[in-house]
């Protein structure tokens, strides 16, 4: 089979796999019960909570937060290597 034909076939299999997984998720989400949205009575004089709005990029807060994500993944990698090396 020509190279382009092989790539197209692989791409078609991938997209079919993604579509199948997506369909299963859709069915699961429709079957699962909706989450209970907790609400409580407001005390007299209590102001309603403001909805959190995203105001766009916040580099000062975002930089450390991205680093935190990298550290979390790093910890999972280290723990994963230890556990998998013991098990395998």
């Amino acid at each position: 089979m020509r190279s382009s034909g092989r790539w197209l076939k692989q791409l078609a299999i991938l997209i079919a796999g993604i579509a199948a997984a997506g369909l299963v998720f859709t069915l699961l989400v429709r079957v699962l019960p909706a989450p209970h949205r907790g609400s409580r009575e407001r005390a007299p004089g209590e102001r309603p909570r403001e909805r959190r709005e995203f105001r766009g990029p916040q580099l000062a807060r975002g930089g450390p937060a991205v680093l935190k994500q990298i550290v979390i993944i790093g910890v999972v990698v280290l723990l994963g290597r230890k556990v998998l090396r013991i098990r395998l």
Partner: protein, 153 residues
């Protein structure tokens, strides 16, 4: 080898993009959504580049004494599923990039919850995926940067 070099750059970019995507405060919603959408072709390319691995390992899966392969395969499969769930739920709850995308049909706050759970699972699976492929990653980086023992091979 071109395939290895392309894989290395693509995977590094994917890793950084996922780390940035996990922090919505950093990007704001519009960049978060568009970056997530831009990730789709990059992920397809990543999977196509790794297709020889997928094909050979799928055939070898039923062979006896392939514990490591089975664990690696299961982690990759779960990574794929959590990625599909994250992207799909992200598209459904999109507010800026494609606000009308199927939301009329599937619009449901459950998808927001699915997005949160799926992205947490994704983070865990990426960590395990990296853990299992760590030696390969180090070897390729050393070769590219001409450092350490793999540089001469």
């Amino acid at each position: 080898m071109l395939r290895n070099r392309l894989s290395l750059w693509l995977d590094s970019l994917l890793f950084l993009a996922v780390c940035v995507l996990m922090v919505t405060d950093f990007t704001g919603i519009p960049i978060h959504e568009w970056l997530g959408i831009a990730l789709i072709p990059a992920l397809l390319l990543h999977l196509l580049l790794q297709w020889p691995w997928i094909a050979t390992r799928t055939r070898r899966l039923p062979e006896p004494r392939k514990g490591r392969l089975r664990v690696n395969y299961a982690i990759n499969l779960l990574l794929f599923l959590s990625m599909v769930a994250t992207i799909q739920s992200g598209l459904v709850i999109s507010r800026v990039a494609i606000p009308s995308f199927v939301s009329g049909w599937l619009g449901d706050r459950r998808w927001g919850q699915v997005h949160g759970w799926a992205s947490s699972a994704l983070l865990l699976m990426i960590g395990l995926h990296l853990a299992l492929n760590w030696d390969w990653i180090l070897a390729v980086f050393r070769k590219r940067l001409r450092l350490g023992p793999a540089a001469n091979s």
